[in-house]
Point group: D3
Chain length 72, copies 6
């Protein structure tokens, strides 16, 4: 019966990748806490880049500043 909400920036996640996230999280909850997949709900929110901030900056500005380092 768990409810999992995954929030990521909207950057072209494919249907297949979302399928993997849904399956992976559901499996993780079953293995770790014995939760029943039949009532495990997973939702994925894809948030526009200009609507996501880190380090006090919108993501694109943050990345421009941090060019070269690991993709946040």
């Amino acid at each position: 019966m768990p409810y999992v909400n995954i929030r990521i920036t909207r950057e072209g996640a494919t249907a297949e990748q979302k399928r993997e996230l849904i399956a992976g999280v559901t499996d993780l909850l079953q293995r770790t806490l014995g939760k029943n997949p039949a009532t495990t709900v997973v939702t994925i929110d894809e948030v526009e880049l200009e609507n996501w901030g880190i380090g006090g900056l919108p993501v694109l500005d943050y990345r421009a500043q941090a060019t070269g380092k690991a993709k946040p």
Copy 2:
């Protein structure tokens, strides 16, 4: 002053249906807990089908598997 968030799959809910949800939830909170409608906030999130998972599958796959049973 309650805040209610209703998350449903994006499957063509009409403006009228959303109006009913907003009115119904606000009325329920007033009847049940005496909450003031004037500061009761209701938001409805419509989530793309491929972004909603149940039973470890994206909804469309889940329904294909469960064809014939009750619409989840």
Copy 3:
């Protein structure tokens, strides 16, 4: 398969009142959008008064200021 999150201030809502909220919201979603109760998840978050703000004030300050008017 809807997921509904109801956030209220922690002010002594009883188990029976929560039962009513859960039943009422589930029924509303079934009547309005034909959603299947079996996979409708409702969660209720009770938030401490000092953790809830409206009008730029914590609730208790807001109510003290608005004494006499409708309970928000």
Copy 4:
């Protein structure tokens, strides 16, 4: 490490305004609680007007009813 979610109605907030919200909230958390901007995440959700309810009505109906008063 705070996570802040700002939900507003979708009414044309500009990239610059969102930049201000992200910077302002991150700065507020640093000043008030000493939180590290580098791991402060802010997301902004813009919700369609017909998906946002207050006073038991969708926003546009609420505003029509309250014409002339302050923009909610």
Copy 5:
């Protein structure tokens, strides 16, 4: 930079199990979408049983009704 919120009923999940959930979800996001663990935030909400509803009932009533079937 993903933000993941896992909501489960409060039923004694141990610190070790939560550690597994945090590591598992972070790893899943890195493998699936190449997300950077350093800015992947995971929060776990443990919700009281009487505050969680499914099938129109609080969990304990739901389970009593469904005694014998798979633990939701």
Copy 6:
């Protein structure tokens, strides 16, 4: 009419600090987007340290590993 949810680790934030967060966010939304404080709702969730993960670790482990660097 905005709804803002601030999630922080439970580490002794005082009533006064929460008052500052509520006032600060409400003021920011009014200055930036002209939002009406009277219907701006702010909630603060304080999450147990073992329920908050970053870098694939619960916060306390993360901090132990990162001893000496800036407080996340």
